[in-house]
């Protein structure tokens, strides 16, 4: 299997010498092409910091991150922007759609900044809209859409550039359970049918159970790792809950 993401001994410290906080304490793992990985952990465990480092929004204190063989911790300035727009797709908890643009325009934006022609944009949006079932909201503005629709539009924006890696930060965090389920089924489809590689951060066991692998983080370190293998989603969910219980009460509020 081809390795898409390789995280090597990454550390991230905050604060000064006198009061040092280790947000990430020597984490290493890798993600292969076509995997759907969930990172679980309580608030403050360092999972979002890790995602920020991978997405180059934040810088690591030490260690290396390789995306498709390229060391992204060495990238600077416009090379960083280029990497972000060409190799990565982002999905945020609060959608981060531009409120002044329609769904169509929001999706188109990630292509137009890559100088893709208008006709090509139209073709690709048409395709992705079918896959994510958002054809009838394309003309709407974010304030006219439900949370689930917004997140699917954001997902469309993330995957339309055919990124090597899709990063999702608590994608179901702001959704009701029905919308969350629908979104995750779409993620499953993207992963299985389109072979999108997805790395998702969540504190919700139900959300994590859609992944093919779950990495648990506690206090900046990897605590455990679970593979779905041939389990059904229900069985995988039970296994995740076991680990969560083991992790301590921190995550119970998520159930």
């Amino acid at each position: 299997m081809e390795t898409i993401l390789k995280v090597n001994n990454v550390e991230k410290y905050y604060g000064s010498r006198s009061s040092l906080t280790k947000a990430i304490d020597n984490i290493s793992f890798q993600v292969d092409k076509g995997e759907f990985v969930a990172i679980m952990g309580a608030s403050g465990s360092g999972k979002t910091t890790l995602l920020n480092c991978i997405s180059t929004i934040d810088r690591v204190t030490s260690g290396h991150i390789f995306v498709d063989g390229e060391d992204i911790t060495k990238l600077k300035g416009n090379a960083l922007n280029k990497f972000r727009r060409e190799e990565l797709g982002f999905i945020f908890q609060d959608f981060n759609l531009l409120d002044t643009l329609t769904a169509y325009e929001n999706i188109a934006l990630s292509l137009s900044i890559q100088n893709v022609s208008a006709s090509e944009i139209a073709k690709r949006i048409d395709k992705v809209a079918k896959e994510l079932d958002i054809k009838d909201v394309l003309k709407k503005y974010p304030y006219q859409m439900s949370g689930g629709q917004k997140q699917r539009v954001a997902s469309a924006r993330a995957i339309i550039t055919n990124p090597k890696l899709v990063l999702a930060d608590e994608p179901t965090g702001a959704l009701d359970s029905k919308s969350a389920k629908m979104l995750l089924e779409r993620f499953d489809y993207l992963n299985k049918e389109l072979e999108a590689t997805i790395l998702m951060v969540t504190h919700d066991a139900f959300t994590a159970s859609y992944a093919t692998r779950v990495i648990f983080i506690k206090d900046g370190k990897i605590f455990n790792e679970l593979y779905k293998g041939n389990d059904s989603r229900k069985e995988f969910f039970d296994k995740i809950i076991d680990v969560v219980t083991l992790l301590g009460g921190d995550l119970n509020d998520a159930l």
């Binding site: 300035g77 531009l98 934006l109 990630s110 292509l111 900044i113 503005y141």
Partner: protein
């Protein structure tokens, strides 16, 4: 404790306050500078008649200052409202912490006080420094000799500035207190969450409104240019002004929707880079800012017209002088007053003799002090009125211009007299055959009227002799020396025709027997002294001299320039500041959007370009329409001020453009750099 909080608030939001503060300082400085002109002119070494006009100018400047204070006061309250809006959340937190509304008002009071005091001090310092340069300009304008540099500080201007701005700041404080007492906690805390709904206007409605507005605007334009001659009364000018203002509003309203629709339909343009984002940013804002856009556009329009007209009037006034006032002195008196008891016997007696004889009776030696003397009479009587000389076209013209004095007596001059005068004045001489006449005029609208009748070959009959026009148009020329083109028409006719025609005015035009300015001033003083002669009670002799006309004209020109500059600059600053503040106050919303764009990997260069374009369009939009307005506005101003001459219009328009580029462009750049700073990643 509250004082500390106020200071910290100001220091923290110094970036937001910067442009507000800058505008305040500029406003204070300008206010001081123009009010300090009074004390600068007092120091100047100028003649008495110039002093009169300086006095008039200072009175007008202080009158205009009241108006300027209103504009600035409006600006300050408006700007303040913006800054308050941004701080809703902060006030919400204060309230949740249990601070009373009275205390919050007090914090705001302290802040306004601090900002007010500092801006007043800095503004006054800047004003005092700049007014030293202004004094050079003042001296230059009045052509006064600056013997040595004097540092001038005007206490009265300083006190006046303090008073006016003190009142404005007081109003702001009252306004703030009122606002705070009215607000609700829930609204304050949620203020930032309210996202504006994007409303797309119906394109068909937009097109209809746009077409109607353009039609209304075109009509208003036509009213002030092609149909300007119809605008005889003040209430008629109101229609084009009202139409123009309304049309401006609706053009912005419809264009904001239409422009986006058009751009959206050009897909290859719309979906290129951040174009869709920039356009949406603009249109989402213009929906709510149509009104202020209109106000700004109209203010810019007024600024452009005031500045270019004021500069042009001054320039052409001075350039007119050499041709319009070719001789040193012109004396005139009414001849042949009727002895019907209205006038004293002495005056009736005196009106029978010529100017020269009257001067000699006054004890003035004409031949000793004057050279190049031309003496002649003008003839007029109620036998021939202006309406008579217009012939067949009178009815038509009277309908078009109902308020002109058609029943005034027409003025005539002998051909030989006119040619003598023309020689002295450097005008084209007139050569008439028998039974011919020529009309000499230099007032443009009157020339047009008279040409209509000349084209019809209208004959006139004097003393039984019928004359026909030599030319189909008026000859450019004048009889009286003035600073403006106001000769409505004088008929030059063969000498013998006027043999028994009643005289109206006796004139004497001459140069002084002098070479230097000092000698000329001495002669002029001698003429003024003749009014001490006992014979003076019997005379009504009038004198126009080159020296006095010159001084009046310089003074008038300077006055118009200063008032124009004052109003123009204040208007310009006010409109640019409103735009800048509007743009900056929305930078927090923008910040989130730009952060998001950065997250999906947009290049910094692309972001900056989008920001530059966004602010650029916002500044350019009202300016472009204002410039289109001004093309017609300036034409109308030129029509109104045609007696002053309009030779220097191009030069003054270039100077106006310079001022606008400097101030408006400056505000644009400051706004861009401030916004760039705000959207920058920490």
């Amino acid at each position: 404790m509250l004082f500390k909080l106020s200071i910290k608030n100001i220091l923290r939001s110094i970036k937001d306050y910067a442009i507000y503060f800058f505008t305040l300082v500029l406003g204070v400085a300008i206010f001081y500078i123009f009010n300090a002109i009074e004390s600068q002119t007092v120091m100047m070494n100028v003649s008495a008649s110039t002093y009169d006009i300086i006095d008039l100018m200072n009175n007008m400047l202080s009158g205009v200052s009241v108006f300027v204070a209103f504009v600035l006061g409006f600006l300050i309250i408006y700007a303040n409202r913006f800054l308050m809006k941004r701080r809703n959340k902060e006030f919400g937190i204060y309230l949740t912490l249990g601070m009373s509304k009275r205390k919050i008002s007090f914090i705001l009071f302290l802040e306004t006080l601090l900002v007010g005091c500092v801006s007043l001090v800095v503004g006054l310092l800047l004003g005092v420094v700049l007014s030293q340069f202004m004094s050079l300009l003042v001296a230059n304008m009045f052509e006064a000799k600056m013997t040595e540099f004097q540092f001038v500080f005007s206490t009265s201007a300083c006190l006046k500035t303090l008073l006016y701005f003190g009142v404005m700041y007081l109003l702001v404080m009252i306004f703030n207190t009122y606002n705070v007492s009215r607000c609700k906690l829930i609204d304050l805390l949620n203020a930032h969450k309210k996202s504006e709904k994007v409303k797309m206007k119906n394109p068909w409605v937009c097109i209809v409104v746009f077409v109607l507005s353009v039609a209304a605007l075109s009509y208003a334009y036509w009213c002030v240019t092609g149909g300007a001659t119809e605008l005889q009364t003040a209430d008629k000018i109101l229609l084009p002004i009202l139409l123009g203002s309304l049309a401006t509003f609706f053009i912005f309203w419809s264009l904001s929707g239409l422009l986006l629709k058009i751009c959206m339909s050009i897909k290859s343009f719309y979906y290129k880079g951040l174009n869709s984002f920039t356009l949406r940013q603009f249109s989402s804002k213009i929906n709510t800012t149509v009104f202020s856009m209109t106000v700004i556009c109209l203010m810019l329009f007024v600024t452009i017209c005031i500045l270019s007209s004021a500069i042009s009037i001054r320039n052409s006034m001075t350039s007119n002088l050499t041709t319009m006032v070719p001789a040193d002195i012109q004396l005139d008196k009414t001849l042949d007053l009727p002895s019907n008891g209205k006038y004293s016997e002495g005056r009736v007696e005196d009106s029978k003799i010529s100017v020269r004889e009257t001067l000699e009776k006054l004890g003035f030696d004409v031949d000793r002090y004057f050279k190049d003397i031309v003496e002649f009479d003008l003839y007029a009587s109620n036998d021939i009125l202006i309406r008579d000389t217009l012939g067949d076209v009178y009815e038509e013209i009277a309908n078009q211009f109902p308020f002109l004095a058609y029943n005034a007596a027409e003025t005539f001059i002998k051909e030989s007299d006119y040619n003598k005068l023309a020689l002295l004045y450097n005008l084209e001489p007139v050569h008439l055959n028998d039974n011919e006449y020529v009309v000499v005029a230099d007032f443009d609208s009157w020339i047009q009227i008279r040409n209509q009748s000349l084209e019809k070959n209208t004959p006139i009959t004097i003393n039984g002799i019928t004359l026909t026009p030599k030319y189909t148009s008026c000859v450019n020329g004048f009889i009286y020396m003035t600073t403006s083109h106001i000769n409505t028409g004088v008929f030059v006719v063969p000498d013998e025709v006027l043999l028994h025609y009643p005289r109206e005015t006796g004139l004497l035009v001459a140069n002084y027997q002098a070479t230097t300015d000092e000698e000329k001033e001495k002669i002029e003083q001698l003429i003024i002294d003749t009014s001490d002669s006992p014979y003076a009670v019997n005379t009504d002799i009038e004198a126009s001299t080159k020296l006095s006309l010159y001084e009046n004209s310089i003074g008038l020109g300077a006055m118009i320039t200063f008032i124009g500059l004052y109003l123009g600059i204040v208007f310009l600053i006010a409109s640019a500041a409103i735009l800048a503040l509007k743009e900056l106050s929305e930078s927090t919303d923008n910040k989130e959007r730009f952060t998001m764009l950065r997250k999906i990997g947009t290049d910094e260069k692309m972001l900056n370009k989008a920001l530059f374009r966004q602010i650029g369009i916002f500044f350019l939009f009202p300016l472009v329409l204002a410039i289109i307005h001004s093309i017609f506005g300036i034409k109308f101003c030129a029509y109104l001020l045609e007696t002053f001459g309009k030779d220097e219009l191009v030069k003054s328009i270039i100077m106006t453009a310079g001022v606008i580029v400097f101030i408006y462009g400056g505000y644009f750049l400051i706004t861009y750099f401030c916004s760039k700073n705000i959207i920058k990643e920490r």
